[in-house]
Symmetry: C2
Subunit: 409 residues, 2 copies
């Protein structure tokens, strides 16, 4: 991509109404635009980041045997009445057709996936079954002030699994927990699996995956010495207490929930009368789990974690490009050549070919947060100045070397 | 993909409530499931087809300089009041938050893209600008009975362009028209550019891209001798009349609108006060166009056009896989080997490894409509029986040959 052709450019100033780092930097760097509180447009570069996050999640969900589907966002009232969600869930958006039919907007998809699974579950041989999707969710939040951390419209990966026995559910649940830890690691996030309440979905304990950040909306107590972590909402401990698991001292922190896993038991299967034939011929309700990851929220949390005074510092795994070429005065033609050569080699690269000062291009590169900055200038001739966003030093290299380093990164 | 692991399988019988071919075949083959009239879930195989269609559209939109963004589906009332769409558009879904805020669901995105473009249009140097997205749309249709041809929730590619002059708009409009004809050709569809009314959007004439099919909801008059085509809604001619362009005899036909292009003039720019500085220093409103393609509708129209008594016949460009391997009795191990070898070579292939009779596997392959059927049987040893879905003859080939043919197809 050539920056001169991009509609959404970096701005000199942060937006006026941004009260979180992610909102401020994502808008200023040109990755998103706010339509209203909690509802955002993704620009071409922002969409790239979102798609990169999706790709990592998709790979790990496929690896645990998840089958990707796409369920609608517009739901009939009947499905939400069946679980009493219609009356109980306060964030559920409701609407009416002009002929008077009632609909809900998907705030989660248990109400859709359960009857869908009913069509294909008949015998224990059809189990386990895990369906997932990456789909926009709609929630009527009272407050939505944390940039893309808490959306009224937000992108979620939601998986639902169905099992013959509690033991099989437990096995899969543990596998997904590991997959989640891998996903967050690949995204550059250290997520703590945190005990929490099951919320609207279940009366059992659930696990939330929490990333420590001041922009978060949860308070947790965690242990540095082991993996114990609990949401304040259900905690029977407090900061300074001894860890119930290892005895070390518990810490308090603000955190943002990037994922969760729920043991739903047989609730939804019973609500929609989903049964299967067991090996002994009797019928039973499957055990069900649900597993969410806030895809757009992850993007926001990553910005909260990875930035400095100059701008965003994307982890390489999800950056909108591997490198950005700065075409300085007098080196425009060679910069184009470098851009073409790298693009041809399959390297994802941006070219700052705007009619801007060198200083403004350096500032834009830092704000955008692409992992590697390549300066092409008349002074350096055919040599390219390589600088990593996380480093303070740079070095000169040939086009061949640059290409080789980027291809192996 | 191994069919034995897929949750959604082919069914012996068509669904009870399907009144169109696309609904019947897509459900029976396991590509979609109906949640309610006009609202569908896409299964893993269905999602593949949808993504393949998206990819073709994306390539052609990028080729004309479109920049892909993703705008929200949840819109503030203010945007729809600004154009009077809030009161005038009967298919607009409206909803209220629990604090009493009014929202609309995107039935199209002129109301969002115009103020978005306002943020980046300042001078004639910022024009032309073309933004597009592939996003779900919501329309409160009174009737929605044609499978995925007319959705209350449906996937659309919508592009919006902004221009300095009418002449530049005309140039771009002509380019997009050609891109559209390329897209439909790549999808296997012959679309006629048809004069139609501008509908809610404009008082000017628009163009609809019509594919002849009895499942369509429009009536058109067209000329076989030239490219003249007009929607009955605005036609001053009838079947049997002389073509106003070339004098040949006009035909009548049912058709489905797979795309449209609108000359929006300055309406939306004026509604949202979007102006730019011209070269002479004066300010003017840009000329705007919008360009839609019904992505999910295309999938349905393709099924309407490409099927026979046995099932769907996907064009290779959008098929969920290039080939399907049937593992017949006694050849399961070799079928696995063929599957692994082709997959490793980057060929997208399905493996029917279900415990079903040979007859049932042959029927499934035809119903699924994958372009090439590869039968692996004990009788043929290492030879593979190659049969194209559109052909009645087959031939034996080595794994090497099969691989080579598929890689070059």
């Amino acid at each position: 991509m050539q920056l001169s052709k991009l509609a959404f450019q970096v701005s000199k100033n942060p937006p006026a109404n941004a009260d979180t780092i992610n909102h401020q930097l994502l808008v200023q760097a040109g990755y998103v635009r706010q339509l209203m509180a909690g509802v955002y447009t993704y620009t071409p570069l922002g969409l790239r980041v979102l798609r990169n996050i999706e790709k990592i999640i998709r790979e790990e969900m496929n690896a645990v045997g998840g089958q990707e589907v796409l369920m609608p966002a517009l739901h009939p009232k009947a499905n939400w009445l069946a679980t009493d969600g219609w009356n109980k869930i306060d964030v559920l958006f409701k609407l009416k057709s002009r002929t008077g039919k009632d609909y809900a907007l998907g705030q989660s998809h248990e109400e859709i996936v359960t009857p869908l699974a009913k069509e294909v579950i008949n015998s224990y041989k059809d189990l386990p079954l895990a369906l997932y999707q990456i789909q926009w969710k709609y929630r009527d939040e009272l407050r939505s002030k944390s940039g893309i951390l808490r959306g009224r419209e937000f992108l979620m990966k939601d998986m639902y699994s169905f099992h013959e026995t509690q033991a099989d559910f437990d096995r899969f649940y543990a596998e997904v927990k590991q997959a989640y830890l891998r996903i967050f690691q690949r995204l550059g996030l250290t997520a703590k699996a945190t005990e929490a309440s099951g919320g609207n979905f279940t009366e059992k304990v659930s696990y939330e995956f929490m990333v420590l950040t001041d922009a978060g909306e949860d308070d947790i107590f965690y242990c540095d010495a082991c993996d114990y972590c609990v949401n304040q909402e259900i905690a029977k401990v407090k900061a300074g207490d001894a860890c119930p698991k290892c005895g070390a001292t518990l810490q308090a922190a603000r955190a943002s929930e990037v994922g969760n896993v729920f043991d739903l038991g047989q609730k939804f299967a019973k609500d929609f009368d989903v049964t299967f034939t067991k090996a002994d011929g009797s019928r039973d309700y499957p055990i069900m789990g649900s597993y969410g990851i806030g895809v757009s929220r992850c993007m926001g949390v990553i910005v909260e974690k990875y930035h400095d005074e100059q701008g965003i510092i994307w982890p390489t795994s999800i950056a909108p490009a591997q490198a950005i070429i700065l075409a300085l005065n007098g080196a425009e033609a060679y910069a184009q050549e470098v851009y073409q050569a790298l693009t041809k080699q399959g390297v994802s690269v941006l070219l700052d070919d705007r009619s801007e000062s060198a200083g403004s291009k350096f500032a834009a590169a830092d704000l955008l947060g692409v992992p590697v900055r390549l300066v092409v200038s008349a002074r350096n001739g055919k040599q390219i100045e390589w600088k990593e966003r996380t480093s303070t030093t740079n070095k000169l290299a040939s086009l061949e070397e640059v290409c080789q380093w980027l291809k192996s990164s």
